[in-house]
Symmetry: C2
Subunit: 393 residues, 2 copies
DNA sequence: CGTTTCCATGGAAACGATTCCATGGAGGAT
DNA sequence: ATCCTCCATGGAATCGTTTCCATGGAAACG
């Protein structure tokens, strides 16, 4: 496989595919094959070809193309032209192999299908792109084993750095990464005992904002739909809830606490459990948006109306939360900003600059789901007014 | 940088990071730096080290580790042991460089934040993982330029294949990919004139299911919230709508058609436009889930009730669509299956096996948003019954 | 017992880039 | 004019792996 002339010519396609999604009948079963004899990409133009065409050495070609050391205007032009004509595309693998820099970073979230993480991913990805890094986005699927599988893959792919929303305790590979001093940043979640910069939300503040808001509406029995204790945000919000309940002098009935797994179904079951308590809550705080959606459905199924019979506040805002009926009050931080910041931190670490952890403040966005004042409870508070219909900030 | 003994020993961390997300005040400003003098991963164990430790040549070590040709039981054991002890992790880049196979595939969707694509991504990713391929997931952001940027990146990263939900017409890089015969699969969308296997939904059938359902409820004026015409699914659903309207003898008033961009906000404005028509529709069909959510909000803002005053059917099911108020009727295909199938196809193409395009059938899931019979119109149809409250399939 | 076959192995080439090193020439200073 | 400096360049080493080729020895076969 030398620099044969065939590299310059593109052979006409020899076989053709089938069935360009004809709007016809359902399942297609006939098998006109789509063939590719030579599986990988053929027709690769290497820097050697470019150099030959430009009439310079590969060294010079490389210098021009990676724009490092000084080159003459003449050869610069020659090489550029040759590269353009041949449609040269540098091989990132070869480049990375030699220069110990892949310009690829990895982002491992626990579930892309969770809009919160999708936003994080989006933010991080855009930030990476702006610095011309490629992002390998992967999905731990809320599963420690899969998390480890991907970390292993990132390690063998020799990415320049990793952003992770970690599951559980530090797995073996996570330790390896830290010890190998591969640039690593935690986003949204952290793991105890890891010496790694992180971007997180101020969970304590967020819980406090939510409870202060509900307390000011007269609620004293507030149910908490928490996240898994294996995740740092789950723990943090749970602990913050306890402290904040105490601070505001609310009922600290253990029956008012239920745990979910950050997915919508678990929010439903948790809500059911809370509502079945001997003295049910008059307001709910969900530690995550998807669980809030689940709770919303369950509450409605029980014939209660959120925003009238029961107040609901959720963590994490989502684009369409304002479109729900009723629009849901949230304590939120911009997930996109979380992702962007994490990527910024990672790139700084990669470039050897100092990076410090960031804690983003949370913000309360009042919508109609928490418009109801405490009414069903036993302490008859102020007369029930329609409540100031809050703008949908 | 030779095979020095330090490779075996992990130097103690020399500097420490800061601030493990103390729940303290919001913005952290003090700057105890987190330093990484040696940016890339240090401490890399190569196959040479493994070979040396096992007392064999690198050739033998490679043969054992990649398990290709025959090796003696003795050396196999030696090499395995040495690799394990040293914590050897093969360098995927070097491996790919030599063997022209990276075991990485790329998936380019138009917007991860759209739950539909998040599901596709999830399905594809899991399928890839099962065949031990890594997935580079990227986000075209509904933007042709960014799509091209990522395709360029994939090309230089020398991925083994690409799955894409393409934007617009075939961009330059997309053509290059086809001509280079790099394995390529379209998912959900296609591009005219490309000779590439695809996995799509049977849009014509889907539209027809929806309209048949609405027509059977007595609706004759059905508003269509379409997608962008620059996207194949947008065009396909639009055309199918026109045909299906004709087939069922419904009103084909051009005022009943509005176009959005597959994001929730555009669904709201489209709904507003439709409802402002001289003779407004009694039912809406949205070409995408997010636009349906937007429409839902707008309709409610106008004081109408979906499922009572106005029927709504949407394309693409989402986990929490059943949790909305009212639960939304959809014509759906499993997005996860779409992703899985696309990945299966891609892997087949990569391995040189024949692959044929797949058209997945769509299914109607009746929920309450379409429970209302036509009532506001002028032709007094059958007496208004409560309508068979359909199960939430 | 001699010859052929086959298998495991070591050494080296190759993959496609970057980077080091030596060199020749141009230009500036003396 | 001579020397020194510096810049552009070609050639070669290198990154970590796979794969080709040659070889030595054991097994099989006559």
């Amino acid at each position: 496989m030398e620099s044969f002339p065939w590299k310059r010519f593109r052979p006409a396609r020899s076989v053709r595919s089938v069935q360009q999604n004809g709007p016809g009948a359902g399942a297609a079963a006939d098998a006109q094959p789509f063939r590719t004899e030579r599986p990988a990409m053929e027709n690769t133009v290497t820097i050697k070809d470019v150099a030959a065409r430009a009439g310079v050495s590969v060294g010079t070609a490389s210098r021009v193309l990676s724009g490092s050391t000084s080159t003459s205007a003449a050869s610069r032009e020659q090489v550029r032209a040759a590269a353009a004509e041949l449609g040269y595309r540098p091989d990132a693998r070869a480049r990375a192999l030699r220069s110990a820099r892949s310009h690829a970073v990895a982002l491992l979230v626990s579930d892309v299908r969770n809009p919160f993480f999708a936003d994080i991913a989006h933010g991080a990805e855009q930030a990476a792109l702006a610095s011309s890094y490629v992002t390998l986005l992967a999905n731990a699927n809320e599963d420690t084993v899969q998390q480890d599988t991907y970390l292993e893959a990132f390690l063998t792919q020799r990415v320049d750095g990793i952003i992770i929303a970690p599951q559980g305790e530090g797995s073996g590979n996570l330790r390896d990464i830290e010890q190998a001093r591969l640039p690593l940043v935690f986003v949204d979640r952290t793991v105890e005992g890891f010496d790694v910069p992180s971007v997180t939300a101020d969970n304590a503040q967020g819980v406090d904002l939510a409870l202060a808001h509900l307390a000011s509406q007269g609620h004293t029995r507030i149910g908490f739909i928490g996240g898994p204790m294996a995740v740092s945000t789950g723990r943090a919000r749970h602990d913050a809830f306890l402290r904040s309940v105490a601070r505001h002098g609310l009922d600290d009935d253990p029956e008012l606490i239920a745990a979910g797994d950050f997915r919508s179904a678990s929010g439903g079951t948790a809500a059911a459990r809370l509502l079945a308590a001997r003295r049910p809550p008059t307001a709910l705080l969900a530690a995550d948006s998807l669980m809030a959606v689940g709770a919303l459905g369950e509450v409605r199924r029980q014939g209660l109306r959120i925003g009238r019979d029961l107040a609901l506040v959720a963590f994490d805002d989502i684009e369409w939360f304002g479109e729900l009926d009723p629009p849901i009050t949230v304590v939120a931080h911009s997930a996109r900003e979380l992702g962007e910041t994490a990527m910024r931190l990672l790139l700084e670490v990669i470039e050897g600059r100092p990076a410090e952890s960031v804690v983003l403040p949370m913000e309360l966005v009042v919508r109609q789901s928490s418009a109801c004042r405490q009414a069903t409870g036993e302490q008859p508070s102020v007369l029930l007014t329609p409540g100031p219909r809050p703008g949908t900030a």
